[in-house]
């Protein structure tokens, strides 16, 4: 009976869920999309992903160990997630040194300057992606065309993305019906048979991962569903108003980075709102800005920009969209 007892305030048990498990849960959810990228783009997808993950982890480790002189926390898995997401957001033939620059910007500027995990206002992978897009516009927009498993890295055939073809064509006065002939069918888009960033192409695989994350309670449905519904409604109205100038909602949902952005990027815990109400407003904002950029902006695609813009509103959303407090109104039902 001489045990020394631990004394601490309640609760005396904790959920088996940990931050590490959540992060690796996201990694698992990204595997189907990674597999389809390898299927469509070949060895390039593997090189890009490995380079990005290794450099993100290395940058975080180096900054924590040698600059901040604190205990490195790379094993929490968040740098791995950022690495995979950054890789998913660049073409599969991007030169390795550019990927490393992207990793340095993502982790170094996007995350560590703000204080590391939990403190960054913007999604680190998107900070890196947008930096690369502006700094290396040629390399960042020469998208390999999917052509089955390839072993070459730089010799991939490149072409425009469906959104690029559509945007350029409409500007040149072609009708949507004619342009539809030049882009893959909706079914092909759904499976991922299109040009684009490495991990954004396969809607089906991304959705499978999203369902896994909702089932594992890593994310809730609020952000992805509100983004996708907003984009579908907004583009649907435009399409109904003038089907010769606007593509149908299905095309918009399945192309570009929308699925990747809605399911994996916008749902980043740190840079998204904390309440369900806030999440829905945030999702609607991302959806609206995406369609605005795609339809009237200079870029054919706007998911990355719209997520970063809405990231900036998160502190405000957290302040204005509070949960319903229990007992706020006196009810005598």
């Amino acid at each position: 009976m001489n045990n020394i007892l631990n004394v601490s305030p309640s609760p005396h048990q904790q959920s088996p869920e940990t931050t590490r498990k959540l992060m690796y849960g996201v990694v698992i959810a990204l595997f189907p999309a990674l597999a389809s990228s390898i299927w469509f783009f070949g060895i390039g997808a593997i090189i890009v992903t490995l380079t990005s993950v290794l450099s993100c982890v290395a940058v975080e480790y180096i900054i924590q160990k040698y600059i901040l002189k604190i205990k490195p926390s790379v094993n929490d898995g968040s740098a791995v997630v950022t690495g995979i997401l950054l890789a998913f957001n660049v073409p599969s033939n991007l030169p390795v040194q550019i990927i490393i620059i992207g990793a340095i910007v993502s982790i170094g500027i996007g995350k560590m300057t703000f204080g590391g995990l939990g403190s960054n206002p913007f999604n680190p992978a998107l900070v890196g992606r947008v930096f690369l897009l502006i700094s290396f516009p040629v390399q960042m927009t020469s998208w390999p065309v999917p052509s089955g498993f390839q072993t070459g890295y730089f010799d991939a055939v490149t072409g425009a993305t469906p959104l690029g073809i559509m945007g350029e064509g409409i500007k040149n006065g072609e009708t949507v019906a004619a342009l539809m002939e030049k882009v893959p069918t909706h079914m092909q888009l759904f499976y991922g048979y299109m040009g684009g960033s490495m991990g954004e192409i396969a809607a089906a695989a991304l959705i499978i991962g999203g369902i896994y994350m909702i089932w594992r309670k890593i994310i809730t449905w609020h952000i992805p569903v509100s983004i996708l519904v907003t984009v579908a409604l907004f583009t649907g109205i435009l399409w109904l108003a003038d089907p010769t100038k606007h593509a149908d909602p299905g095309f918009h949902l399945l192309t570009g980075g929308l699925m990747l952005g809605a399911i994996y990027m916008a749902t980043d815990y740190v840079s998204s709102p904390m309440t369900h109400k806030g999440m829905i407003i945030y999702g609607i904002g991302i959806g609206v800005i995406t369609v605005l950029i795609r339809t009237w902006g200079a870029y054919p695609e706007g998911v990355a920009f719209s997520i970063l813009i809405m990231n900036a509103f998160v502190p405000l959303l957290n302040m204005y969209f509070k949960p319903n407090r229990f007992g706020k109104e006196v009810k005598n039902g």
């Binding site: 004394v7 048990q13 407090r325």
Partner: protein
Amino acid sequence: MFKTFPKGGIHPPENKLTAEKPIVVLPLPPQVTVPVSQHIGAPATPTVEKGAAVKAGQVIAQAKGFVSANIHSPVSGKVSKIDTLVDTTGYKQTAVVIDVEGDEWVETINRSEVLVKEITMTREQIIERCKQSGLVGLGGATFPTHIKMTVPAGKKCDMVIINGVECEPYLTSDHRLMLEKGAEVLTGAAIIMKALGVEKVVVGIEANKPDAISHLTELAKDFKGITIQPLKVKYPQGGEKQLIKACTGREVPSGGLPVDVGVVVQNVGTAFAVYEAVQKNKPLIERIVTVTGKDVKNPGNFRVRIGTPVTALIEAAGGMPEDTGKVVNGGPMMGKALAMTEVPVTKGTSGILLFPAAVSRRAEVLPCIRCGKCTSACAMGLEPWLISVLSEKSMWENAEKEKITDCMECGACAYTCPSKRPLLDYIRLGKSTVIRMARERITK
């Protein structure tokens, strides 16, 4: 048909290891230690001297002030000393130590187990009897029962809810009581109903106790005005406000009491104690305690006299396992860790829970990743991440604005946090500071 409260809540593993274990009467210990404060409110004043001979059921400390409760001798024997001793809270306080001799009870107590269903007392007599018998809420809060039976002027009560939820993992004392003393519990509920002058009683029981639900539903057919309400399993459904919301849809206003929406909530253990006090003239000198833990040899439910050392209970359950690292008085979510086991069982002891050393320490704390799981888990609609940071940074006014005082300290936020942040520790600090500041504002 299964109801629940709508906002927040979590599903910790239930671990009801002792649900099938009938209540066992614990033999009398050689000595009992009876603290004079086993309730919320002013400590009672000892009325016996050292060396005095006492009988079981005799008053040994008199209630002092409005919110207080009488303390009775749980055993017969001789008062060996009146001293300041450590109790389950870890603090020292006055206690009456009695050496047990035989088991002689005060003559007016009816010790037969025969059910007495007919209620002959008037409202006033019932309330007075509960007061004399030292009844307090046995769910854990230990608020004097007779005060809860008196509806404050200007308020109206139209129903009673009996709390048979027992949402804390591990604990089964209320469950066993409903199974083994169901008719007594319902009679107690009928007595409370009469004391409050209402016509309606709802007994809320969670779906993980189907045997108790069917047993009481069958028994309730013989009682007028009593219905059994099955509830979905969700923690913290045993919280008064959540239980009222689940059973009636009424929402107790922030800062208000259940009676503000016309409800009084009593625990099943309290209903049983009310039955014993009113029908058998038996004061509150024993209670049911679950002794449990995954490594405990014979976990069980024990009927034990107040003042019995916790060590005796642990011995009865097969002794303390070799690697025990933490002993909790109560359940794993809201119970209090004991610094030592040489403390007495009090009116508020609902369980003794033994954790092995491996799980008795908290996990490593990581930065908040702003996942919002704590906000989703909070049954009061608060933002635990926010109010804990505000407390950490001593921003008390902001914490008050964010309704920190609505927190009932159920621990759902700290349970659910993937980064294992000590959310509730900071919230408790903030809550007590904000309450103190609010009091100071009033007195100024």
